[in-house]
Amino acid sequence: MNTIPPVRTLVLVWVSLLTWLALTTATSYLHLGLGNTLINLVIAAIKLALIAWFFMHLRHSDAAVRLAAGAAVLFLFFLAFLSFSDFLTRSVLVAPWQGADNFIGQPAQEAAH
């Protein structure tokens, strides 16, 4: 159970992490529109997976530990989904007393520019 990883594996994971970092930084200077955001998030997820799988040795962990880690991410998405089903379906109505200084009124303000 207590598997000690070879130095080589750990160093290779680190090299891989830095390579993904270079990629995400470099691509953010290209005009890719929505692609920039997608690339950044996918690369961040890959880096997190590498850290969890090798550095946090999830690959040698019990099923219970993997379940705990998986449940955390799953519930994060559930909560985000439920929250966004509210926030993303609201239409922003600016009350007369809400000036341009108000954050709430900002989406309409920004769109107007």
């Binding site: 750990l10 920039n36 950044n40 955390a72 519930f75 985000a80 989406p107």
Partner: protein, 217 residues
């Protein structure tokens, strides 16, 4: 330094074996990290909404962050995670001196990160990018940018608090290695290392959403 006392591996009475105790501690730490994820989540949620509703402002604000320090700090933190993993490996192999040195290098990298972050905060304060402290920005984006920097300081600040705790944990382990055999401490170091890597993992997501939004613009 005198040779440390031999490791006496005896499980606490509620556990049948030392391995069961180790597994329970590992599971407990992962459950704690799950709650930590929920602690950070509202900030990420708020950010996502802002990026959706105030996209142009967030992009403009993100271009004012210091991408050089941000990238260097990401590399530093990823490297610190490597050293933490190496420290745990050395502890499991019972290498007393190596464990201590590697833990101290990990802590030093964490402190370097914090020092650079402090420098960055100072620059942002001078450039009037701190909300409520004479915040100034291009007028058409000023409200969204203020929200972006509010989230920026909230997220990086909360991350810095966690990193400070991580540095403290690494230093305490380095100190305890004076009295305890590395192999015996390795189970505790394992738990501390999980925390360190988690904090690193949070930064892995903070970096692109704070520093890289429409950097090309």
């Amino acid at each position: 330094m005198s040779a440390p006392a031999p490791a006496i591996e005896e499980a606490s009475e509620q556990f049948e074996s030392i391995e069961q105790q180790r597994a329970a501690a590992e599971l407990g730490m992962w459950v704690f990290l799950a709650t930590e994820l929920m602690f950070f989540a509202p900030l990420f949620l708020g950010y996502s909404y802002g990026r959706w509703a105030l996209g142009a402002s967030f992009a403009a604000a993100s271009r004012h962050t210091d991408v050089v320090i941000g990238t260097a700090n990401t590399a530093i933190l990823l490297t610190s995670s490597l050293f933490m993993a190496l420290a745990l490996r050395a502890a499991q192999l019972g290498q007393q001196r190596a464990t201590r040195a590697l833990l101290l290098i990990t802590a030093a990298l964490g402190m370097t990160f914090l020092a650079l972050k402090g420098l960055e905060y100072y620059d942002e304060w001078r450039e009037h990018l701190v909300p409520w402290l004479d915040f100034r920005f291009e007028p058409r984006y000023v409200h969204g940018a203020a929200l972006f920097y509010f989230l920026y300081f909230g997220m990086t600040g909360l991350h810095a608090v966690h990193l400070t705790i991580g540095i403290g944990i690494a230093c305490v382990f380095a100190l305890r290695l004076r009295w305890y055999a590395a192999k015996r401490l390795s189970r505790q170091i394992e738990i501390g290392a999980l925390y360190w890597h988690f904090v690193d993992g949070i930064w892995v997501f903070l970096y692109p959403i704070l520093y890289l939004v429409e950097r090309h613009g």
